[in-house]
């Protein structure tokens, strides 16, 4: 780089600043181009995702394809446990279909890593993400690509804000009998972690009481929101960001950050070992951790992974009481609460 004399210092400072700031570490244009070319030769990749609603997942896929023409991403949105089940089925059959695996149950990654089923790859863009989500795996095998929150959601057409539950035990109040909606930990990763958190805080009796209140049990956590929108149920343990999005679109949805804490979901993404489209998978991982991806997520009111991309609506994460479980707690706990759930609720 050439600079006119006398202006060397500011430029040197700027360069120094650049190396210090995360932006410096982002995927260089050349590397991006090379990766894009390699990905184009493969032409496509398959992405299992439990991070988003079907709409947002499709939107993410489209944004990726718009940025990287010639690389098609097959978006398969299901709940986390179903995505994991399909991956397991493929591994069992010795016929891997998925390239990039995006579950909301971090335990899946710990398990896959132990079995040596993840590809070691740290996207350059990982360095651009918020410090709080960076480097979740010391070996760089999986990376946080989405954040979510489970809080209390309600139908504003039928429940006044003042009457809405304020904390988790409020959901057990007999006045919400036959009016609560929840997802199923055997399907949803969000719900599994929510159930585990509640068990940790209030013991299993929380769910024994919940059971008496005849909750509507769907599969995905997003199902709770559909139930609220339809007026089939009034209150739910539901996804906050989706409630904000729905409210912005004019649906009668309200949300509460419970006083005893909002469950924060840290959802990683990884390349599966032996993926058929390794270059396309790497390109997708790079993109998923880029500001471009954050902007696409924020359009649908999802949480941003970048300081430069401000979130939309809702209270900033730092201002709410957060409940975050450790990954190994999740690994150990979720399969256990799944079983207990099935024993208590019989489904």
């Amino acid at each position: 780089m050439r600079a006119p004399k006398g202006r060397t210092l500011p430029i040197a400072l700027a360069m120094l600043a650049a190396t210090l700031s995360p932006a410096a570490a982002q995927l260089s244009a050349d590397a991006e181009k090379a990766l894009h070319e390699a990905a184009k030769k493969e032409g496509q990749l398959t992405w299992y995702t439990a991070h988003y609603s079907a709409e947002t997942a499709e939107k993410m896929g489209k944004a990726f394809m718009a940025r990287y023409p010639g690389v098609k991403v097959n978006v398969v949105r299901t709940t986390a446990q179903v995505a994991y089940q399909r991956l397991s089925q493929e591994l069992r059959a010795g016929s891997l279909q998925v390239d990039v695996f995006g579950s909301t149950d971090i335990g899946h990654y710990l398990e896959l890593k132990t079995k040596g089923l993840l590809e070691k790859f740290t996207p350059a863009n990982a360095a651009t993400t918020l410090e709080s989500v960076r480097g979740i795996d010391a070996d760089g095998m999986y990376h946080v690509s989405s954040l979510g929150m489970v809080g209390i959601t309600y139908n504003t057409a039928k429940v006044k804000a003042a009457d809405a539950p304020k904390n988790w035990p409020d959901l057990l109040d007999p006045k919400w009998k036959s009016q609560v909606s929840v997802g199923h930990p055997g399907f949803s990763g969000y719900v599994g972690i929510w159930v585990l958190t509640m068990t940790k805080m209030y013991g299993w009796s929380f769910f024994e009481k919940l059971e008496k209140g005849k909750p509507q049990i769907g599969r995905s956590i997003l199902d709770t929101q559909t139930m609220l929108k339809a007026g089939e149920r009034l209150v739910a343990a539901g996804p906050i960001t989706s409630a904000i999005e729905a409210a912005a679109k004019g649906d009668p949805l309200g949300w509460v950050y419970p006083t005893d804490g909002t469950v924060v979901i840290i959802a990683p993404q990884a390349i599966v070992k032996g993926a058929k489209n390794p270059a396309a998978a790497k390109l997708f991982m790079e993109w998923a951790l880029s500001e471009d991806a954050s902007r696409t997520m924020v359009e649908d009111y999802q949480m941003s992974l970048h300081a430069n991309v401000p979130g939309r609506g809702g209270t900033p994460l730092k201002d709410i009481k957060q409940l975050i479980l450790k990954p190994d707690e999740i690994l150990k706990g979720v399969s256990d609460v799944k079983e207990r759930w099935r024993d208590t609720f019989g489904n």
């Binding site: 079907a54 397991s88 089925q89 019989g346």
Partner: protein
């Protein structure tokens, strides 16, 4: 030329080469029907990731009260479905085929429509109708009576039974109708002469005579209901009523325990065999000679004052099975939120836009469903035609076994087959998991019985003498088939193809275990969408599926006449 050298040559020349083709086809049949079942049984004794055999899978599969409960629940559900199907179908079949009830043609059409609507879409419709708080029926009930408790709750055992019966009563209807069309009026006349009225005659004479057909229908319906996956996923999970299919699904959770799933499925096979045995026992001691053969004339029974009550009954069934679920579904497909009802600000095309244009896999899945079903139907038709030909013309020894094999998939619960398919095709050496082929093979196998029955019936009508004429004039057997049999069967083949295509296009129970990300079919996509509970989008995609099905059936009507799906096949 000496005779010692000539003998083998002559034997060589005399050898009927077509025999190899027949044997080859028989081998294909054994491969697609028997192989998955053998693999299923073997898998149930295999040690996971190990060598040798064990009984542990059975202990695991039935070692927990919850797992056993699921099996008991399923049997209760199946019995309920079978009973309700009889209540729906038998009076309807009698009224449609033997009485002067008004609008019989229309009622028949509704029965067909109920069959065309896949059970999981019926379930969506009934959630909209009978959801405990927002369901149309319950809101109307609360509005009218001021009650605080809902009138009906779809998320219950009753809900499961009604939804399944709405789709499955078709089988009992078809079986009963065909039997009724063979019962001559002479015996009924005798009863009339002795002073019995129309209804009494129906109960005392006609009903007992068609009892074997009803029993066959009941068994089929019972076994079909065990295998459904979509309805339990939508209804049984919220209803907290675990059944076999949802339990089997759990065995496929990580770590995938195919062996345990296989062990869990084996008793279903036992139940199937037991039921068929029971059927033999029940029918063995009695004579139903009037049913066979071409008896005397069949006259219409005059219902008199019962005409309109009978029509009321038929109309109620049409309403429950077709119109009510369909109307609410169409409303939901065009709604922002189904619970908000009919109003302009709730009206949207967004669901269709999302399904048809935004959702990348949706269009692909429509294409997949249609092509896989079309190819599978074609394979099933061609294979079963050949087998039916072998059986009918007795070209191979033990051809009766071949006929049995063709029909076997009809009575084996689809979910049992699905586990067998997974065990047989998914792992190496075939390694078909995630390919279109595995789905086509599975679909073709499941479609075989209907195709076979249809073709066998068609072939029975063609006397071998025409083929013999071809052969006398020097044409080979294949020439005879191509130039004589196939043209004569053309219409019947088209009918059979449509009959097979429709259920195959909607198949879910086996697809769910075999589909890969690029081979998702509409039914699986519907199930994936249903996780989020977006009934509006589900309804939109469901409408697309229904429109496609109706178009295909309508084409079938044009080519082969409109009754082809209602005849016993």
């Amino acid at each position: 030329m000496t005779s010692t050298a000539a003998a083998p040559v002559r034997a060589w020349l005399r050898f009927d080469w077509t025999m190899l083709v027949w044997l080859g086809l028989a081998a294909v049949l054994v491969f697609i029907v028997v192989n998955p079942l053998i693999r299923l049984v073997l898998a149930s004794f295999e040690v996971r990731d190990g060598v040798g055999y064990t009984f542990d899978n059975y202990l695991t599969a039935y070692g927990r009260p919850r797992y056993v409960q699921a099996l008991v629940n399923t049997l209760v559900m199946g019995a309920g479905v079978a009973a309700l199907c009889v209540v729906f179908a038998v009076p309807l079949a009698w009224a449609c085929s033997r009485t002067d009830m008004p609008a019989r043609g229309f009622v028949r059409l509704c029965v067909l429509a109920a069959f065309i609507m896949p059970p999981y879409l019926g379930a969506v419709g009934w959630i909209l109708l009978a959801g405990p708080n927002a369901g149309w029926i319950n809101r109307a009930w609360v509005a009218m009576t001021g009650a605080t408790e809902p009138l009906v709750n779809v998320f219950s055992l009753t809900g499961l039974i009604v939804i399944m019966a709405c789709n499955l009563f078709f089988f009992v209807f078809v079986f009963t109708t065909s039997a009724l069309e063979l019962v001559s009026s002479e015996m009924e006349d005798a009863a009339n002469i002795l002073g019995a009225g129309a209804v009494r005659t129906a109960f005392r004479i006609t009903l007992p005579l068609i009892y074997p057909a009803i029993l066959a229908g009941v068994i089929v319906v019972f076994l079909q209901s065990l295998a459904l996956f979509g309805v339990p996923a939508l209804i049984a999970i919220p209803a907290r009523y675990p059944v076999v299919t949802t339990q089997l699904w759990q065995f496929f959770e990580s770590p995938v325990r195919v062996e345990v799933a296989a062990a869990y499925a084996i008793p279903l096979l036992g139940i199937t065999i037991g039921l068929l045995g029971l059927q033999r026992l029940l029918l063995a001691r009695k004579g139903y000679v009037t049913v066979s053969g071409k008896g005397g004339e069949r006259r219409v029974v005059r219902l008199g004052a019962w005409r309109w009550p009978m029509f009321g009954f038929a109309a109620t069934i049409c309403l429950i099975t077709v119109f009510m679920p369909l109307v609410v579904q169409v409303q939901a497909a065009f709604s922002r939120a189904w619970g908000r009802g009919f109003s302009l600000d709730n009206l949207t095309l967004e669901n269709f836009r999302f399904i048809l244009f935004e959702h990348q896999m949706a269009r692909q899945s429509v294409f997949n469903s249609v092509t896989y079903a079309a190819i599978a139907a074609l394979i099933a038709i061609l294979l079963s035609l050949c087998i039916a030909y072998i059986v009918n013309r007795k070209l191979l020894r033990f051809s009766g076994v071949l006929a049995f094999l063709c029909m076997a998939p009809f009575v084996i619960p689809g979910i049992v087959l699905a586990i067998g398919f997974y065990a047989a095709y998914a792992p190496p050496p075939l390694a078909l998991y995630g390919t279109a082929l595995i789905l086509i093979l599975a679909f073709a196998t499941r479609a075989l019985p209907i195709a076979y029955a249809s073709n066998a019936a068609g072939l029975r009508a063609i006397h071998p003498e025409m083929e013999e004429a071809v052969r006398i004039l020097g044409g080979g057997r294949f020439m005879a088939i191509r130039r004589v049999v196939a043209p004569l069967l053309k219409r019947s083949l088209v009918g059979a193809w449509v009959l097979v295509f429709v259920p195959t296009c909607q198949e879910l129970s086996t697809a769910i275990f075999l589909t890969g990300p690029n081979t998702r079919v509409m039914s699986v996509l519907l199930l994936d969408l249903s996780e989020e509970g977006k009934l509006e989008q589900l309804s939109a995609l469901g409408s697309v599926l229904l429109v496609i099905t109706v178009i295909i059936v309508a084409i079938g009507f044009r080519i082969v006449g409109r009754d082809f799906m209602l005849r016993r096949t």
